[in-house]
């Protein structure tokens, strides 16, 4: 899993990635110098919990993926079943390219989980 995250971080514009549970427990991480592990885990866990709870309250299905776009960067959260892949990127990366890379990494991690 660590290797998959490290590979993902080599993509230009990716600042860091992490696999985290809904409760904020870090399963694996590979973060750049600007990102702090505890902050990313706490913030991601909060975002995932609020979104998931909202989806349930409004009866809108199960959380699969969330993409946030801000003035200076993006965050993507993908449900892996056993946890969530969280990726933080700079703004320079095109959204389409980013999603291809993130979804490919998520598929690889899901494949690992199946083997385990």
């Amino acid at each position: 899993m660590q290797n998959i995250l490290e590979e993902l971080n080599k993509v230009a514009g990716v600042k860091g990635s992490m696999v985290v549970t809904k409760d904020g427990v870090v399963v694996a991480e590979s973060l750049g110098p600007d990102l702090q592990k505890d902050t990313v885990a706490a913030v991601s866990s909060h975002m995932i919990q609020v979104s998931d709870r909202g989806l349930q309250e409004l009866n809108r299905g199960n959380f699969e993926q969330l993409t946030l776009t801000s003035a200076h960067g993006r965050m993507v959260f993908v449900n892996l079943g056993v946890g969530y892949l969280v990726v933080v990127t700079k703004m320079e990366m095109k959204l389409g390219e980013l999603l291809i890379e993130v979804e490919s990494a998520a598929r690889k991690i899901k494949g690992l989980n199946k083997r385990i």
């Binding site: 514009g13 600007d34 990102l35 902050t39 990313v40 913030v43 991601s44 909060h46 975002m47 609020v50 979104s51 709870r53 909202g54 989806l55 309250e57 409004l58 809108r60 299905g61 199960n62 959380f63 699969e64 993926q65 969330l66 993409t67 946030l68 776009t69 801000s70 003035a71 200076h72 960067g73 993006r74 965050m75 933080v88 700079k90 703004m91 320079e92």
Partner: protein, 364 residues
């Protein structure tokens, strides 16, 4: 260009101008700018873009069109600066290229180059100024103490390297004045007056600064945190024209929401005001929409908080996907707009339709 091509271009331009006049919005101005770029009329595009940016400073369409325009206009300059960094690197080469990227609104590149410039040539002030400018711009938008502190530290570093940079000292004094750091502002203005004792602008600024009430705190960090608290309570940031218009007339907004029915799989649209209050929802009555509003308010709050804490600045939009639905969240001019659809809709299509609604129809 031959006369026929010239004639055709003028006709197309005039048609495009009429379209903007018929329905003036950031989106229609953006279309006009693109048309001008296509026809090679960069001067006309620049004039319209500058007017548009002044009129709709927070528009995404205009920002993107402006970027495309500057990129077309500065293509040769960009190439020359890149060559200079490659062939004859020096502090000024990095600075020039970083400034150009900043103008192109490619802030990641600008910051990367300026950081590299600082690392290689730490005694040249220009690259600190680029980093400080970018950080200060974020401070102005997000009103976060941490951004303000970083910007000021970088500006101060640049001042240490050149104590007679008028523009820099003036800007720093204005920043201190804006956040309420009276003493620091006075110090900077006096530094200007040391080498330009008769400067009228500096003397006027000194009068203004001396009329300020004294700072409640001594440490800059505390002053900025106090500023952030005031900003959060709404006493600093003001809502833009869309928020003002629709907060006053939510029924006008409610009448526009049915336009979103054109989105395939459309289920519901909910709009919250600057304080998170429900302004309008469609379809359904107020009770039903209030329930949606309560849930969506929490999602927006989490997304805003997440973006700021992850240092990626102000939250602009988000797409939440499930096995059966898509929820698109957009913040525009402090209005929070959520569009809920079934999974039938294509993501790109949904985003394009909502973009047009937000940047065009809401402005009409």
């Amino acid at each position: 260009m031959g006369w026929w091509a010239d004639f055709k271009a003028n006709r197309e331009l005039s048609e495009a101008r009429k379209n903007v006049q018929r329905a003036r919005s950031p989106w229609s101005i953006g279309e006009f700018i693109d048309k001008c770029i296509e026809l090679g009329r960069l001067d006309v595009a620049l004039e319209e873009a500058e007017k548009g940016v002044r009129e709709f400073p927070n528009s995404e369409s205009l920002g993107e069109a402006f970027k495309r325009l500057i990129r077309a206009k500065c293509a040769d300059e960009l190439r020359a600066c890149r060559d200079e960094v490659r062939k004859a690197p020096g502090p000024k080469a990095y600075y020039k290229l970083a400034c150009l990227y900043k103008e192109l609104r490619d802030l990641d590149q600008a910051v990367e180059l300026a950081r590299k410039g600082v690392e290689l040539y730490p005694n040249f002030e220009g690259n600190y100024i680029v980093l400080a400018d970018v950080r200060y711009e974020r401070f102005q938008r997000d009103l976060r103490a941490s951004d303000g502190l970083q910007a000021i530290e970088l500006f101060e570093k640049a001042v240490d390297l050149n104590r007679e940079n008028y523009r820099l000292l003036f800007q720093l004094a204005e920043i201190y004045q804006a956040v309420g750091a009276k003493q620091k502002a006075v110090e900077k203005v006096k530094m200007i007056l040391d080498f330009a004792p008769d400067d009228r602008k500096a003397l006027a600024l000194l009068d203004k600064v001396q009329a300020m009430p004294p700072s409640r705190h001594e440490q800059l960090k505390d002053i900025l945190e106090d500023f952030e608290r005031r900003a959060a309570s709404g006493t600093v940031a003001r809502p833009g024209p869309l928020a003002i218009r629709y907060t006053r007339q939510p029924d006008q907004l409610a009448r526009k929401l049915p336009l979103l029915e054109r989105v395939q799989g459309f289920q519901r649209a909910v709009v919250l005001g600057p304080s998170g209050e429900l302004l309008a929802g469609y379809p359904g009555g107020p009770e039903e929409n209030r329930k949606y509003g309560d849930v969506l308010r929490k999602m927006f709050a989490a997304a805003v908080d997440c973006s700021l804490r992850m240092d990626i600045s102000t939250f602009a939009k988000g797409l939440l996907e499930t096995d059966s639905s898509l929820t698109f969240l957009v913040v525009v001019d402090r209005l929070q707009i959520a569009v809920l659809c079934s999974a039938k809709v294509k993501k790109d299509r949904l985003q394009a339709e909502v973009h047009k609604f937000v940047e065009h129809e809401l402005y009409l």
